[in-house]
């Protein structure tokens, strides 16, 4: 297994995914900090400020973790199969042969649409298959979908 992150054949999601994660974590973190601060501030200003500050620190830690997780995503199209790598604490590597793909899903949630990103997900007959690539530029997502669909048809084999 090729395992050097610098290998040019390994592709990564768009850097906009990181910005999206920043926005998500930032919004959720500051909201929680605001509410926590407001609730604890009824006991005094100092505890309220420290509660809000603590929440922001936790958010910063979460961002650090998200950064690592964002960097861990990578995928590679090999001759016979697609390989997807992800995870920081739990490192996962999925190998899905093109011939086993049932269909390819391209989805974009509201936040993803805001950042013009798409998620590509591969489905096989096995429910456990978890080959999902988030944060792809629309062009790359379309290319990947076309590529996978044509390869899947060419190498399809029944159950």
């Amino acid at each position: 297994m090729v395992d050097t992150p610098t290998d040019p054949r390994w592709l990564s999601p768009s850097s906009r995914l990181w910005k999206m994660r920043c926005l998500e974590a930032g919004v959720v973190g500051s909201l929680v900090a605001l509410i926590a601060g407001a609730v604890v501030a009824q006991k005094g200003a100092a505890p309220g400020l420290s509660a809000a500050g603590g929440t922001l620190v936790v958010t910063a830690l979460a961002l650090w973790f998200l950064r690592r997780r964002f960097r861990s995503w990578s995928y590679q199209e090999r001759e016979e199969d697609l390989v997807v790598r992800r995870g920081v604490a739990f490192r996962r590597l999925s190998v899905v042969p093109y011939g086993r793909m049932q269909f390819v899903d391209v989805t974009a949630g509201p936040v993803e649409r805001l950042f013009k990103l798409q998620t590509v997900k591969l489905h096989t007959a096995a429910a456990a298959t978890d080959a999902r690539i988030p944060g792809l530029e629309p062009g790359e997502a379309a290319r990947l979908r076309e590529q996978l669909a044509s390869l899947g048809e060419a190498k399809a084999a029944g159950l």
Binding site: F90, R91, L93, V95, V96, T124, A125, A128, T129, G158
Partner: protein, 480 residues
Amino acid sequence: MTPVVRAGRIVPVFLLAIVVSSSGGQGHSNNSVRLYDAIAIVVVAGAGLVHWLVTKWALDGATLRIESGLLRRDARQLPVARIQAVDVVRPFLARLFGLAELRIRLAGSSSSNGRLAYLSDQVATDLRARLLATHHGVDPDTPEPAQELVTKVPTDRLVGSVLLSGGIVFVPLVIAVVVLVKVSPTAAVVVGSAFVTYGIGFAQGVWRRISTQYGFTVADAPDGIHISRGLLGTVAETIPVHRVQAVRLVEPFVWRLFRWCRLEVDVAGAAGREAGGGRSATSTKALLPVGSHEVAQRLITTVLPYAQPALSPPPPPARWKAPLSFHFLEAGHNEVLAMAVTGRVRRTTTWVPMVKAQSLRRIQGPLQRRFGLATVHLDAAGKRVRAEFRDRSVVEADTLIDELATFSRAARKEEEKSRALPSVATAWERPGARTGNGAGALPPAGWFADPAGRHDVRYWDGARWTVHVRDQGVASVDPS
């Protein structure tokens, strides 16, 4: 007879309603309630009658036509060439009247399967034989080929195994209740009632398992493994061997004392308990609800005609990562088959043929990284169908990922090649055997001239040649 049976499923509910209303009714409302019940029964019986009147079936040569529905007519054409299996189901009431239901399963989608309810026993058996004979391209009046009885699960063993697999929980509970009665009677009443509730649920589960698996008979036939089972309602089903995605051998703790085990198979596109969330219709079926290892081994070699891989335990550090399951963990693979043992108290052995592998996954948690371990999953079709190479060393996991990918690719290629082979076999096939089968489609299972030339015909199961042969209509077995 059919309308009675169809309505019969609902009649008992109404009978109960009548009993309840007549015992609880207060005189004046009694008659009107009875009238409503009577009307309800008539309506249900009438619906059954109408359904029976509008349902028609006909077998003309290569297709079975089933028409049903009064308002929305539903005409279904089932090409005989695409039939995977024909199951005969006899629910309790239908059985009382000597009726049976035919379930026809086709290759491919599970939605296009046909149901034919209810036919008289004789007609159902005849139609089944006729369908299979037509499907295999022999004279429609040919009787079904001989099947070889593998095993019949004795009733005492079935009852014992079902009680043991759940009943063991009762022992500490009974002791606890007895102790409580001595200590505090009021608490005992509370606990006792909870105990009774659980007991009723348990009894229901026991009854369900015994009634569905009573008289479990397994037989080996050319078109797959034949299973017949059932106490009140009976089911006769066929598991086509080439549709089997994975095989599991389960040995619960108490069963091991008796050297018993259970054998399950995951079958693609079969009707039954759906395990794939509807999209991938894979169902788990018991191939042997309880039995000895010898019988299980024999069934395994029938379902997976491959060489068994050698097993090896994970490296010593795995003992620290998985102290409770280390004693069972084992895994191994060869070019055609992956095999893995997992479990803490209940030992589970899973086989996944390389041909059926859907995807490969390598997972490494923080603890595993600390000990230099990783887990590799070989997924087959279905929800939780996989061979787990748990807690192997990192080096081994990396080679595993590569090797399993290579082997499953090779197995797929091999399968495609063998699928191309029957185009040669079609040269020998009897006329009319492949009607309704489009060009480029998967060649259907059937009897064809023996490619080895030693016998009249040999059975082609849709993916490969089997050991079943026939000479002048006499079935026998020749491994070649």
